[in-house]
Amino acid sequence: MKRLLGVVIFFACMIAIWEALVRAGVWSPVLVPSPFSVVRYIGQALADGTLERATLVTIRRLLIGYGLGLLVGLPLGLLTARFKVMSDTLGVIALGFQTLPSVCWVPLALLWFGQTESAMLFVVTMGTLWSVLIATDNGVRTVPPIYVRAAHTMGSRGLHTWCRVIVPASLPFIISGMKQGWAFAWRSLMAAEIYVTILTGFGLGHLLHYGRELQAMDQVAGIMLVIIVIGLLADKILFSPWERFLHRRWGTEKA
């Protein structure tokens, strides 16, 4: 309760200072909107349904692209960890592409797919895929060999060893790779939505973009706030349960 109170007071102070600065007229209202105008914008956008629709479009893109990235990245990571020839070839490509900021896929995606949904998905998938692949590969390589030996003596072989021993043993790496992949995917999707006008759906990035075009700072700040909140929620909903499980089982919880 005390903790919650502290948090509430902190944020209340932040907003109060923000409001005070705006009222004092330090900056032009065109550049810094008051917190109330931001809230008003979010309220309006919610009321006329723009915000819900845009959020839905964005999240749908994100989830599909991210899902595809996982679906391809995880097995490929297992392959590169298992086969020398895969790590010598695909592993090198993955390492290279992982260092490439995923926004850099946008021009290529546009040329390949045009102004379509596929271009968006492609960018998100590319943002996810490589870091998941590398984290999986890394995780598998750090599995203590004794686990595999123990499993073999108990009669586990081949696919069973992979599914029941190697993959669970590398979970801490895989989860942190998935988290990194998510962050990359989220960033690249926003970049793509800001750069690319797409006729198939109007995402949060587009709202942000039009906010700038219309010099509607309350809209820009409001959408940014929504994007932050979605990021936080995703972290809580998608990764927290996994991380709690890992901490509980592996005993890595902070005292």
Partner: protein, 263 residues
Amino acid sequence: MAEEIPKLVVESVTKRFRTRKGEIHALDSVSLTVREGEFICLVGPSGCGKTTLLNLIAGLDLPDGGQILANGKSVTGPGSDRMVMFQEPALFPWLDAFDNVMFGLKLKPHLSNKERREVATYYLELVGLDRFMYASIHELSGGMKQRVALARCLAPNPRVLLMDEPFAALDALTREQLYGDLQRIWQQRKRTIVFVTHNVREAACLGDRVVLFSPNPGRVQEQFTVELPRPRDINSVDLAQHATKITRALKRHLHPDLEEVAE
């Protein structure tokens, strides 16, 4: 009476390892026979090939020469008739104690799930961990971890138990307790046990027979039969006498020249 087929036969087994520094002759035509239900201890200084031999019997590694028979059949790979208990517990951290024991049982297709759960519960109770069945591995102490590992090895009902210095990393008190537990469990459910250790006292306490290894290359030097009533107390005088005898032999094989000076 018909001739009993020995549980394990090691026939002039040779094993070499290639390392950067050159070839290591880990085992040099080692032969050994283990009877059904026998508790045999392999003793020797580090690097004498005793762990290598255990891995060969387990099928985790293959010999360069000679052969190993388990139950009359040649060993070509690991099998759940020969369970291994390692020096580290090697428990899976993503599973709790109960599911760790269940791991090997789930690989036994002829058991029903209910039977598996009963067996796992039985063995966790046997090693005295009934209160910690659903504990995460990291919550257990070193001794408790090795108890879970023991339960995990025993649960699939292997004919042969291969133990590689399983108590080496534990404190003296816990170790003594486990000596007692292991003897009790072994007496209740007679299994063939091959136990590797560098601790002569431990070997004399646990083994029906103690096999002395010497290094460079690894060879069987001498065998001792320990005929003391069980359960044996590691601190008893009779046991100390046996241990002294074995230690003396060990020193004689290690430093043949020193012996003359001493005597």
